[in-house]
């Protein structure tokens, strides 16, 4: 009797779990398509360069932490210097690099140490000095040299030194489109009913792309096996996921590699949390929590245009470290803000977004693992017929293919960055292989992240994230 009850319970649990998950995916996919069409309708005829002459635009600091980046730092800063915006400054924070990052920048950009007044509004490691170029061509550039304290600490230093209204937190090795800030600023001045506290943009995979003068000149589908999967993954995450959550005003994560923040709000909530490896997710959650607690109608906006290009991990080992860190960061954030879970005080976030994160982002891989385990046990015990299992698998594969197809369709319909029959063929193959190779790998990364978080308490670091660098990529 007990076994039958247990068996039924397991069946119903997995049915409800996977059913609601697919419903979420389906709804977000539809919302994304609608929102994308609206966005295109609103912006298709607009020339963003017009904004350069707008009389009332917020000023922007671009804050880019750099640690041991001597090989690529010059190219990366050159890319940032080609940004189009009327009032901006670029703050490169040298986070106590052990190599010659600082010396390289000083030499190339003719920097000298200057006196710069700042308030330590957010605690951070000691700032050793601030540098500015004597060359007027680089007068937007500031370099902050500080003791090593990690990415969050470097960003906090940059925020302390910054004097602008908004700041763009960016990984120094990202390539951003020259009009990226103009596009990102738009929600801040456009929304009349809500205070926009953060804007995020779409990040695309830069591996195998051709780079010249700090710009992507030709978009290629990556040659690397793991990078190919990540293109599809980024399509789905940014095109479907974040777009829909932004529409519902339930967006909780803005990528640490590329997000435009209201500096005043960030300072009020105490800046980036140095004790977590998921500082990007944690900050947005804390900001939203603060806005709810102060009764401010607010919004986290999202721009679906591909504005930032980044190099993704190309080996299983590095990818594993990255995903392990993402998982640990997510668990940490969930734990820190557990009082938001199904808490109506936090509106949409408390009732939908946060529970979604807990159930479908954190617990989902664990539930999936046990699902597979039960399936194998039931198969061995001959409790399920093979036909039913094949049917369920076919259903899952079809839905998975459908989501990926929608993401590819949206990309092709809107921005059409990847072209050609060869790409389409590779993408199709990739989507098929994803089910048997990439998805199980991701499952493993998540489980190892959970294991490390709960059983290796001392594991707090980022791990070594080796990159090829754009300088080493094919350049014209």
């Amino acid at each position: 009797m007990n076994i039958i009850f247990f068996n039924n319970f397991i069946n119903v649990f997995f049915f409800i779990f996977s059913g609601t998950l697919f419903c979420f995916y389906f709804i977000t996919a539809i919302l994304s398509i609608v929102e994308m069409k609206n966005h295109i309708k609103k912006t298709v005829d607009f020339d963003y360069r017009t904004m350069l002459s707008f009389p009332k635009l917020p000023s922007v600091s671009i804050i880019a932490p750099a640690y041991n980046e001597e090989k690529n730092i010059i190219e990366n800063i050159k890319c940032l210097l080609s940004i189009q915006y009327p009032d901006y400054e670029i703050i490169i924070v040298n986070d106590g690099s052990k190599d010659d990052t600082l010396a390289t920048i000083i030499k190339f950009f003719d920097l000298i140490k200057i006196e710069r007044a700042y308030e330590l509004k957010i605690p951070c490691e000691m700032i050793r000095g601030v540098y500015q170029s004597v060359n007027p061509a680089y007068n937007h550039l500031l370099v902050v040299d500080k003791e090593n304290g990690g990415k969050a600490d470097a960003l906090n230093s940059g925020i302390n030194v910054s004097r602008k209204d908004l700041f763009l937190a960016i990984d120094v090795d990202c390539i951003i489109e020259s009009n990226a800030i103009l596009k990102m600023v738009r929600p801040f001045i456009n929304d009349q009913t809500h205070k926009v506290i953060v804007t995020g943009g779409v990040i695309r995979v830069a591996n195998s792309c051709e780079v010249a003068g700090g710009r992507i000149v030709k978009v290629n589908y990556p040659q690397n096996f793991w990078a190919k999967f990540q293109v599809m993954e980024y399509f789905r995450a940014f095109t479907i996921g974040r777009m829909a959550w932004a529409k519902l005003n339930g967006l909780l994560i803005i990528s640490g590699a590329f997000g435009l923040f209201d500096r005043e709000v960030v300072v009020k909530v105490g800046g980036y949390d140095k004790t977590t490896v998921g500082e990007d997710l944690e900050l947005v959650v804390r900001m939203r929590k603060y806005m709810y607690e102060t009764g401010t109608k607010h919004r986290v906006a999202f721009i679906p245009d591909p504005l930032c290009w980044t190099e993704v991990p190309e080996s299983f080992k590095i990818l594993s470290r990255q995903r392990n860190r993402w998982t640990r960061g997510a668990i940490d954030t969930i734990k820190k803000h557990k009082n938001m879970f199904f808490n109506p005080k936090y509106g949409m976030i408390g009732l939908v977004s946060f529970p979604y994160w807990v159930i479908y982002e954190w617990l989902s891989p664990i539930i999936e693992f046990f699902g597979i385990l039960f399936l194998l046990i039931y198969l061995i015990l001959n409790l399920y017929s093979l036909n039913i299992i094949v049917l369920v698998l076919l259903f899952v594969i079809t839905l998975s293919l459908m989501l990926s197809t929608i993401a590819i369709y949206i990309e092709a319909y809107t921005y059409y960055k990847y072209r050609g029959v060869k790409y389409l063929f590779q993408a199709f193959l990739c989507v098929l292989l994803e089910i048997v190779i990439y998805h199980p790998s991701n499952l493993y990364f998540s489980l190892s992240g959970n294991f490390d978080y709960f059983f290796k308490k001392n594991k707090k670091g980022w791990g070594n994230m080796t990159r090829t660098g754009f300088a080493a990529m094919k350049t014209k």
């Binding site: 017009t50 904004m51 002459s53 009389p55 200057i114 006196e115 700042y118």
Partner: protein
């Protein structure tokens, strides 16, 4: 603010000169009102200074800021600068910087120096730097006096202003 920016940009591009300033400045629509204030400032319509002045009291941050910016750029008499000085605490960060720049242009130098010295001691670092920069233009000796004060932030701001490399 999006529409306001777009309209101003088009007005500038099309060189439209027939603008109903008075109607805009007395509009109940927030966007129209801001449009009127910004256009008055950009086109130096000094005659609307007192129409604009009343909006400095506005609880709306955008209206308050634009009114301060416009009024600060029109201020000439001592009473205008006194009014700006009194509005300082209600201003946004951007508005405060404009007030500092404007008051330092006051014909009553002594009054301006007193205000700038007060800002340099009591206000956040951005304002300290701006105040000391303006004080430097009026009287370099007054800035030098801040080099030995106890407050490290004031010293930092002072060092920045006196740094010849900037």
């Amino acid at each position: 603010m999006w529409e306001v920016n777009v309209i101003i940009d088009n007005i500038e591009k099309d060189k439209i000169r027939e603008i109903p300033y008075k109607e805009l400045l007395h509009s109940n629509n927030k966007g129209m009102l801001i449009l009127g204030i910004i256009l008055s400032r950009l086109n130096q319509k000094q005659e609307f200074i007192y129409d604009i002045k009343m909006y400095i009291e506005s609880p709306d941050e955008n209206i308050n800021e634009e009114a301060i910016l416009a009024f600060a750029s029109f201020a000439k008499d001592r009473s205008d600068f006194v009014y700006l000085r009194e509005s300082y605490n209600k201003a946004t960060e951007r508005g405060k910087l404009f007030i500092i720049r404007s008051v330092s242009q006051s014909p009553d130098t002594e009054y301006a120096v007193q205000f700038l010295q007060w800002v340099a001691i009591n206000e956040p670092v951005n304002c300290k730097v701006e105040a000391l920069k303006n004080l430097l233009i009026i009287d370099i000796c007054k800035v030098a006096e801040f080099m030995n004060v106890k407050d490290p932030q004031v010293r930092m701001a002072c060092n920045e202003v006196l740094d010849i490399n900037q």
